[in-house]
């Protein structure tokens, strides 16, 4: 049978984000795979060069809707290193709690998507229902379900009081129980296992050679985790294991994520119960002395890498971000080759791709726009929302 090229995307190739895959297929088998990036470029690195450090913090937080704390923390750490600031121990703990809540949010979301991709929508419904509990916790702490705005240069902006602590600990109980159940489902349920066992094989050697990160690397037996290797926030004081699997297939990646959830609950519990007293932030100067530094962070999808260069002014000279998905695309392309066409969605989903993170830099402003952005006050927006839902009642 002659080979032919099958374009997939850019609309929703796996998750609800744009990316384009060109697959050369021979019958059912993928012989060549190519990824076209760039559909989500927003000019963030360039934009950082014209904004103050504080403005940049809020901008990088919006690189991604899920790993928002990951980018904000990586950036804060870099700027604090340039300033020579030591942040309070309580702030390091609160950053750690938010980081792990974000990981739980992300991994549960992934588990649901993985269930959906293999046609096991019950798992999707279950996992996403449980994910609501984590978002409630994030809302308790920060007031927001996404983009928590928790960080500031020099610490965190919101404290956790004893009452909040109790309600968070209460919400963690059922989550731990549910996750232990998912660990059994992933390993024992034929509906799931049958679609991921031996699918999308990535050997340890290839994972290392292609510089894979996060669960993609750990699922192939590479014990790489920035939280252990290069501890930041309060990870040097947290009890947790780095989860790896020697399987190297999609099942291995799924196991790593589910078992990591249980480690995350352990970290959150420990951090809450041992939350040190003291201030949550120190005052940071607006101007950052000339210098350069790198900052690493273990985001839910793997190593997140920020480079910041300061020139002595209030705006950075250069901000460079390498989010984990970009690092995992070479190994994804490698494992797509030889895969069955029907397995492409789950193999792609198994790197837990985040294309907003991957595409982040360039702003395309086509000539001839209408130029009338609407500005609303919070109250106007609220009224607009109420009106819209009244008008559209029963039509959704």
């Amino acid at each position: 049978m002659p080979e032919f090229e099958l374009p997939v995307g850019p609309q929703h190739p796996a998750l609800k984000e744009p990316e384009s895959f060109r697959l050369k297929i021979d019958g059912e088998i993928v012989v060549e795979a190519d990824v076209r990036l760039g559909y989500n470029h927003r000019g963030i690195e360039k934009a950082c060069e014209t904004r103050t450090y504080t403005q940049c913090l809020y901008l990088v937080e919006r690189i991604c809707g899920i790993c928002s704390h990951a980018h904000a923390t990586a950036f804060s750490q870099a700027v604090e290193a340039l300033l020579g600031l030591e942040i309070p121990r309580r702030a390091r703990y609160i950053r750690t709690i938010a980081a792990e809540l974000e990981r739980v949010h992300s991994h549960l979301l992934w588990l649901g998507v993985a269930g959906h991709e293999v046609g096991f929508d019950t798992l999707f419904m279950y996992a996403w229902r449980d994910r609501e509990a984590v978002q409630d916790i994030l809302e308790i702490i920060s007031g927001n379900r996404v983009n928590y705005g928790l960080n500031t240069i020099g610490g965190v902006r919101r404290d956790i009081d004893p009452l909040q602590k109790e309600s968070i600990l209460g919400l963690l109980e059922p989550l731990t129980e549910r996750t232990s159940y998912y660990a059994r489902v992933v390993q024992e349920e034929g509906t799931f296992r049958g679609r991921v066992d031996g699918v999308g094989n990535l050997s340890k050697d290839m994972a290392l050679a292609l510089n894979a990160v996060g669960p993609q690397a750990r699922g192939s037996g590479v014990p790489m985790d920035v939280r252990k290797d290069d501890p930041y926030a309060a990870y040097d004081e947290m009890p947790f294991k780095v989860i790896t699997s020697e399987r190297g297939d999609v099942l291995g990646r799924a196991l790593v994520r589910v078992l990591e959830l249980l480690e995350s609950y352990k970290i959150i519990r420990h951090a809450l119960e041992n939350l040190p007293d003291g201030p949550i932030a120190v005052k940071a100067p607006k101007k950052v002395p000339a210098g350069e530094t790198v900052s690493r962070y273990e985001a839910p999808r793997g190593e997140n890498f920020h480079y910041v260069k300061a020139n002595g002014s209030e705006t950075p000279e250069r901000v460079k971000v390498r989010a984990p998905t970009l690092a995992n695309i070479p190994s994804l392309v490698h494992i797509l080759k030889g895969a069955h066409l029907a397995d492409v969605p789950i193999i792609t989903a198994a790197i837990d791709p985040c294309f907003s993170c991957t595409d982040r830099k360039l702003q395309i402003a086509p000539a001839g726009g209408s130029g009338d952005p609407r500005v609303m006050t919070w109250e106007e927006l609220r009224q607009y929302g109420i009106r819209w839902y009244k008008d559209h009642a029963g039509r959704a």
């Binding site: 290797d229 480079y307 250069r318 000539a367």
Partner: protein
Amino acid sequence: MQDSGSRDTLAEFFGLFGSALEHREAQRIWTQLEAALVPRALTFLKRAGFTHLSTITVLDTGREFEVIYHLCRAGHVFSLRTCVGRDKPRLASIVGIFPGAVLYEREACDLFGLEFEGHPDPRALVLPEGWPAGEHPLRKDWRPPNGGAQDA
């Protein structure tokens, strides 16, 4: 990883390549080499356990481009810097040494207009189809074609 092992690697590196330590924070090493020595230096570092290329950062200083290779060995980050002239920004591709560099070089090619000799697949990565040739948005002197006007 043993810290003494790290010190030995560094001593050997600086002996072999004759470069100087630029500045050093805990677990962070920064140095600079001329472009011709970069492939050999990266091969040396990879053999010494710096097997993870985190990314490649490019800076536009106005006079030249600085290209920084960030290599990791567990918690240590070795940042190797080299400079290329703005008039002829060409340097050797390192994809042969670090296959994981394939997208980082393509990205630098798009956004800074660097040329990587020997890159197996030098197509545009992030810029859209129909983007004008010679426009590299992360260069400091780059201005958006329509003067940066925002459209709603």
